[in-house]
Symmetry: C2
Subunit: 491 residues, 2 copies
């Protein structure tokens, strides 16, 4: 590694991901030109071309998945009147510290009411729902928005992970019963697996969040934590069982089959496309740069001509011939710039292009090309006559191979812990702690505060999939354990 | 027509498009559930499901077209610091009256600098361009944003046509020479024809706008006017030759092949997806509701079972069988709700579903189905054995047929006019006036003001495609004519 780094100080990444994750990530997004942090508002960044193309594909995949599951898209205004905002008390309390306010417009000056840049859309949308939903026939009512939201974040921002403007999909649903609402929460978790695990190759696990860490206004919050391989977790999409809290505040009612008027049961779900992207590049990337699933790579195949004097035409003709074989099937690019061959290799590795094809005069003599896979660096000499078949095979298996590598056993990162000191040590060693705990209700907040202060991690909650471990006592107060929780540092 | 209206007062449209365009449009967007104007901020509306699906398809088509023409997507923050905004003087002057300002955030209160909700992105983007562009090798630099913008409009708003928040694509490009920039302007006009004429079936014509009606900061503005068939035109996408005005203000420079540092030549282009949608539904719609091009219809085929007592199963089985024939190829829906058959017909006509298939017991006996085309109401009995072939044929020809009907000759709406009185009469009669004019430079502004005041129309500018007509004198002042212009009322 060190040798390679010295060879390519300008193009390549110089920081080791394992030794300095933050430094590595910053270099990755800068050198691969994914985000530009020089935009002159704190916490706001530009997403550059390479990131925007992939994020757009992620949006389209998520939208298509939601469409298939009978959600319909809507477009809401970005601004929310302050008076809407005040209708659900817990929600206001939770979001008020994070709201950007529009107060002036044009030359006419002050507006009569402050307008919030939406930090999330419940308070805009549910006023409309109360007008649109009339009867049980309108239910289930499943809608989503593809949009951006703004939050005046106090926490440190990091491109894609956390910004003051981010891009997500928010899905908002109304049902006739609590059971139907809970089924939706389960469907949302399944959708998250379909996108994050299957498409993005990120290992996640769903936790029911403790009472003190819920979405403002929710009955329960279920959030996916991604294992970032650095002993820290990152919260990815969460889905919230809202019950009737908002429907009562916003008057979302329906006439049921029995002729009675009832409040709907609601859920909401917010897969952040920009954060999912950040998690993906952080998790899959290596010391050579990006690694991307085949479908999500802006360029899937790059052809690099190896030019020798006097042989230019024969090589470039062959390059064009090979290009034509694949141009209708894959996103393919010829790099015929005047950079050195070495620099081209490093550049496209940095950018995470899955397949590199090299073609030089000697290959042409041998009627072969060289093919290199980005994610594992494997190199093949492939006869021209087999090329279409072999490239199709590599393309088809590429994402599967990444997934197999990346979906390591969650349990191997987890340490079962019975005492506070052991927990401190485990967290220090980059482990995720599994332990007994009083409960995840408000009464356990005191124990949770001690966890944060003395152990240096956060209680992530109760696993949603089955819990294999049982503990007798709470790690902190020693009283009988009400549940098993996981403790980890988080981004 | 009148008869039908009386039959379906609740579902159908009751206002005639020809007699009262505004009333018709409002009823259309309300009854077809395209927009909800009850959102509680003036000038902001909700785009409902049916509109959002089509607008999303229009976005994807426009993005794919730009990608093919070597533009790359970017994502920019929505907020622009006031200090950026002040850098190009004409631009500030033009946009300042329309800006929404964010001045407060969270509990910390006042921000140190006002932040504009972008009314357009030049002043955010070109600061980045000055950092990204270094050499002639970086040119042409062609980028675009898919985003929304906000403008504190003084003019009357109308859903999709004009709102205080609207959704567009803005493309921003930098070239080494003025010639290359002008080529881009031409490419943008061609792209506009490809989307608006070919996909949306709207007749448009490009005008070079008069000096007093340019984009703030542009050298020249070229804008498409759509003929709305109501004697009024609507401005659709415009493309702007910016020259070096912004590159000098924002320091967008490059080292040319001769080693010298030069300012880039810029263009920008802003196809508004929401306004294009409004123009399309307004232009193509009729007194039964929406008419949509086949590709852009959220549902392309609807099957309506004609149920008779005792024959339910046989009909519903056949409906399912026919549905399965097409479900992988088209967006198809079965309407098995408990509405009356008549109401179902009206509903799906209102929604503009291109093909309706009716299946009843008698059709099943005859091994046929009834097929009705929305745009011309033509009705066919089609034998089951020919159904796939015939539906494919209808689907393939559907948009072509609309286009043939809609792309009537522009010239037939135009009246050649030599005197002011004749112009007043022509505008009153819903015509577009073609006449001689001093010029479209600032010196002619006085004449243009008289046009607006006394004739009641606006000078739209000089046609970009070849002008067939020549006039000796200016319609207003009688001095020798410098050019031929068109005068029309506009939305």
């Amino acid at each position: 590694m060190a040798k390679k780094k010295k060879e390519v100080p300008i193009i390549g990444i110089t920081v080791s991901k394992e030794e300095d994750f933050s430094g590595w990530y910053t270099e990755l997004i800068t050198k691969a030109e994914l985000a530009d942090i020089r935009y002159n508002i704190k916490g706001f960044v530009v997403y550059r071309e390479w990131a925007t193309i992939t994020i757009r594909r992620m949006y389209r995949k998520t939208e298509d998945l939601l469409d298939k599951k009978d959600h319909l898209p809507l477009t809401m205004p970005s601004l929310i009147p302050e008076s809407n905002f005040l209708l659900e008390a817990e929600h206001v309390k939770g979001f008020a510290p994070e709201v950007f306010w529009v107060t002036e417009a044009g030359s006419s000056g002050k507006l009569t009411e402050r307008l919030a840049l939406r930090p999330t859309s419940e308070t805009a949308l549910y006023k409309m729902y109360s007008m649109w939903i009339r009867s049980y026939k309108d239910l289930p009512f499943k809608r989503y928005l593809s949009c951006q939201v703004w939050r005046y974040e106090g926490k440190m921002t990091r491109p894609f992970f956390r910004g003051r403007e981010f891009h997500w999909i928010e899905s908002h649903n109304v049902f006739a019963t609590m059971e139907d609402a809970m089924k939706q929460v389960k469907e949302d978790m399944e959708s998250t697996y379909q996108i994050l695990r299957d498409e993005c190759c990120i290992p996640i696990i769903f936790f029911q969040r403790p009472e003190w860490d819920k979405f403002a206004g929710a009955v329960h919050t279920y959030a996916a934590d991604a294992l970032m391989g650095s002993g820290k977790v990152l919260q990815l999409p969460s889905t919230h069982l809202l019950g009737q809290k908002f429907s009562k505040a916003f008057n979302v009612k329906f006439i049921d089959t029995d002729g009675e008027e009832k409040y709907g049961y609601q859920t909401c779900y917010g897969p952040s496309q920009s954060r999912n992207y950040g998690a993906m590049i952080a998790y899959l990337g290596d010391d050579n740069g990006l690694v991307l699933p085949f479908d999500l790579a802006p360029v899937q195949i790059v052809i690099i001509p190896i030019i020798f004097k006097g042989k230019e035409k024969i090589v470039l003709d062959k390059v064009k011939e090979i290009y034509d074989l694949f141009k209708d099937k894959y996103v393919i690019k010829i790099d015929d710039s005047d950079e050195s061959v070495g620099n081209k290799f490093y550049t496209w590795e940095l950018k995470g292009v899955p397949i590199r094809i090299e073609i030089g005069p000697r290959d042409i003599e041998k009627q072969q090309v060289i093919v290199v896979k980005r994610h594992d660096g494997k190199r093949f000499e492939i006869k021209e006559e087999n090329l279409i078949e072999r490239i199709d095979e590599i393309a088809q298996n590429y994402t599967k191979e990444i997934k197999e590598k990346s979906l390591t056993d969650f349990e191997s990162q987890v340490e079962l812990v019975y005492e506070k000191d052991a927990a401190i040590k485990a967290i220090d060693n980059g482990k995720i702690v599994c332990c007994g705990f009083c409960s995840i209700d408000m009464e356990a907040l005191k124990c949770a505060e001690i966890v944060e202060k003395e152990i240096g991690g956060e209680v992530r909650g109760k696993r949603v999939d089955e819990e294999k471990h049982e503990f007798a006592t709470c790690l902190i107060c020693g009283k009988p354990a009400g549940c098993t929780v996981y403790i980890a540092k988080s981004y």
